[in-house]
């Protein structure tokens, strides 16, 4: 990890520790977006990491941006930092201005339909998108959709959209967004550079894998701490072999998640991460599905009440594992690829997983 990366990491940790308390996360479920946390994040330049300074960003690598997301997720940060970062990558690739306001993305993934139609004095956009993260709080929506000229991207004002409030299991806003003939000037619309729907799906999957890894780190820390504090039958429950064995299993899952996510991040950075992202979303999803129940079992009843922060992390894990494709979805895709590759090339397929990296 180079110096800049180290600074970004430490800064993010400091900001989250200071400003992303249990209370802040709780309040977010009541509809309060933590403006101070957002402002601090933006002021530190973190909303545009991964976009070069020449392009108006803060510099740093995609990996640095993902480190920020992992840390934010570890603290269950209830802000659209992932969406804003992703939006800025798309915008910078399309040559559009970057965003520092809370931003979200609506694309053609996941059965959505977004249509751009060129008219005499610009474009109109129409369509609907489901489960759009933080749409109700966003001050800009980056819309990606089809047109006769190929995939297009534009920034749309959310006030021009109809938004229905929905949420995931963690109470994070996942709104339905409807756009009806929004008119934009020609220069506000740009062609999506090489990127396509699929690309966004992979990026989304990678981001959720990274976030889950952060949340998994958190539940392991909480479980270890709780097992040392909680006294039962006259001693800390950490002294019971059954608890030790469970925590060991949890540690294995967390370690697995970290490892495969790191591989996917490095591969993505090298422009080559499709199969690694599939593997990461599958394996991290499995870690979430196996790990969250263990953490709850260790914590007892307190863990699933609003009095303990464990549930802020586990509910995110349960939500994120299903967003941008669950384990089955990606396993089916990866399995298909493996079967097409064939038995005699299975091993080369596996060893190729870490053969093109940026380190």
């Amino acid at each position: 990890m180079n110096d800049i990366s180290q600074i970004i990491k430490e800064t993010a940790e400091k900001i989250m520790e200071d400003l992303c308390t249990k209370q802040v996360v709780e309040d977010s479920e009541l509809g309060i977006l933590p403006r101070e946390l957002w402002k601090t994040i933006v002021k530190s330049g973190m909303a545009t990491v991964g976009v070069s300074e020449e392009a108006g960003g803060s510099g740093g690598s995609f990996a640095d941006a993902l480190t920020i997301l992992r840390i934010a997720a570890k603290f269950s940060a209830p802000i659209p930092i992932a969406e804003t970062l992703m939006a800025n990558w798309v915008l910078s690739e399309a040559g559009l201005p970057l965003m520092e306001k809370p931003t979200t993305i609506a694309s053609n993934n996941n059965g959505n339909k977004m249509m751009f139609i060129e008219i005499s004095d610009g474009w109109t956009i129409s369509g609907s998108a489901y489960d759009v993260p933080y749409a109700r709080y966003a001050e800009a929506v980056v819309v990606i959709g089809n047109s006769q000229q190929g995939n297009m991207v534009a920034i749309v004002n959310p006030r021009a959209c109809h938004i229905e409030h929905e949420q995931n299991l963690a109470g994070e806003a996942r709104d339905h967004l409807y756009i009806n003939n929004v008119h934009l000037q020609g220069e506000a619309v740009s062609r999506v550079r090489e990127g396509n729907d699929n690309n966004l799906l992979y990026r989304g999957a990678l981001i959720r894998a990274v976030q889950m890894t952060g949340a998994l780190e958190r539940i392991l820390e909480l479980s270890i701490a709780y097992s040392k504090e909680r006294i039962q039958f006259g001693r800390p429950i950490a002294k019971f072999q059954a608890i030790q064995q469970q925590i060991a299993i949890l540690a294995g899952e967390v370690s697995s998640a970290k490892t495969i996510t790191n591989l996917a991040v490095k591969s993505f950075e090298a422009g080559n991460g499709e199969k690694q992202i599939m593997a990461a979303k599958i394996r991290v999803g499995e870690a979430a599905s196996l790990g969250a129940p263990i953490a709850h079992q260790i914590h007892g009843a307190i863990g699933f009440t609003d009095e303990h922060s464990l549930q802020q992390s586990t509910r995110r894990l349960w939500s994120w594992r299903d967003e941008f494709g669950n384990e089955s979805y990606w396993a089916n895709k990866l399995g298909n690829e493996v079967l097409n590759t064939g038995p005699d090339y299975l091993w080369p397929f596996v060893t190729s997983m870490n053969s093109e990296l940026v380190l």
């Binding site: 370690s255 490892t259 591989l263 593997a279 499995e286 089916n332 399995g335 870490n354 990296l357």
Partner: protein
């Protein structure tokens, strides 16, 4: 417990290529057929010597002792290729993996200069004498003992589960060299026993498959000269534990049933669309990729001289379960009511199922490993 992602160098990938080509040629020449668990089961001195000739045994050791002074990652790559192809590597396995590094670290000059080059040539094979009938996971409870006599030690006792003892030349034997004290880890030492010594007898232990790999070795007044003591008298526990940590995270902890996975894919390819099959295979490959990354990460740390006990234990715990999982997935995907034309699949599945109980026992049981992990995260 965060591992760095390891990027293998071009040079390392070249080694892989050489090994892979060699293995394909040997396979085509009919030297071997891929087998599950070949590092325990497939003993082929001729094959081991071929590897030695190509410089693929004792790869990381100094040239003066017959090694190649290659990196740990280069050795890693050779090892994983050998295992992924299910090649017959049992003969040299313990000598190359354990005894060599042990002697390099603790051995005297005579041991190093006489024995290491012969291991590296694939000529001398070793067994590991650790367990005894009553020890199981409680290794420190061993009672095999050596009494000091003129010029050496007189060894008495027995060792069990010694793989290949009936065919290997030496056995590194953990024994008690002074009487038990409250600290059970004191007073233990490692002696190298020449298996042709008088007083050594070997009783085969047959597996449930009928195979003979394991043995009980009886030691009756076996004379071991002073220069065959490994390391320091009394340091046997420490030396053995270092040796065990080395053996936990290698690719042999998750690739033992890989040849079955290859064959499963061959069978599934011939079937009509099997959505359940795609998903199950995708999950296995994601898991395998993760395990390999973890194992590589540990190898990278070992290269830097760090000994990551916890992560190594994690790799073995997760890896050996994965080996069992391949067998379970394979049998459930290939319907028992359809006749399987592919008899290779059937025989690999049988091997995988019947060998699977050993995976989560050898080299530290699941329970012991999880205890190590729990201690590592600070709760034990």
């Amino acid at each position: 417990m965060e591992l760095e992602t390891i990027q293998l160098s071009q040079k390392t990938e070249q080694v892989r290529h050489q090994v892979r080509n060699f293995l394909k040629e040997e396979m085509e020449a009919g030297t071997f057929i891929p087998q599950c668990d070949s590092w325990l089961s497939k003993w082929d001195p001729e094959f081991s010597r071929k590897l030695g000739q190509r410089g693929w045994l004792g790869m990381t050791w100094p040239k003066q002792y017959g090694g190649q002074e290659r990196t740990a990652l280069e050795r890693y790559v050779v090892t994983e290729e050998l295992l992924a192809f299910g090649s017959p590597v049992a003969a040299h396995w313990f000598a190359d993996r354990q005894t060599g590094p042990l002697l390099l670290r603790y051995g005297n000059e005579k041991q190093k200069s006489e024995i290491l080059p012969r291991i590296a040539r694939g000529e001398v094979f070793f067994s590991i004498g650790l367990s005894e009938p009553n020890t199981g996971s409680d290794l420190a409870s061993i009672s095999t003992n050596a009494r000091k006599i003129d010029g050496g030690w007189l060894l008495n006792g027995s060792k069990i589960w010694t793989s290949g003892a009936h065919r290997s030349h030496y056995m590194v034997t953990l024994c008690r060299t002074s009487t038990k004290t409250d600290n059970r880890h004191e007073g233990l030492s490692q002696l190298m026993v020449d298996m042709s010594s008088s007083g050594v007898s070997v009783r085969p232990i047959h597996l449930m498959t009928g195979e003979h790999h394991f043995n009980e070795v009886f030691l009756e007044d076996v004379f071991v000269p002073d220069d065959m003591v490994v390391g320091t008298i009394g340091d046997g526990w420490k030396q053995s534990m270092a040796e065990l940590a080395f053996e936990r995270s290698g690719p042999e902890r998750f690739l033992s049933t890989f040849p079955l996975l290859v064959e499963l894919i061959r069978v599934l390819q011939q079937e009509t669309t099997n959505e359940g099959g795609f998903t199950a295979v995708g999950r296995l490959v994601a898991r395998l990729t993760t395990l390999r990354e973890m194992s590589l990460g540990v190898a990278g740390l070992l290269e830097q001289g760090v000994s990551p006990d916890i992560t190594a234990a994690l790799v073995k715990d997760l890896g050996t379960q994965f080996e069992c999982q391949i067998a379970e997935v394979a049998r459930l995907l290939v319907s028992s009511s359809t006749r399987v034309a592919n008899s290779r699949f059937k025989s690999l599945l049988a091997d995988a199922v019947l060998h699977s109980p050993g995976f989560t026992l050898r080299g530290g049981t699941t329970e012991i490993l999880r205890g190590i992990i729990a201690r590592g995260v600070g709760i034990r």
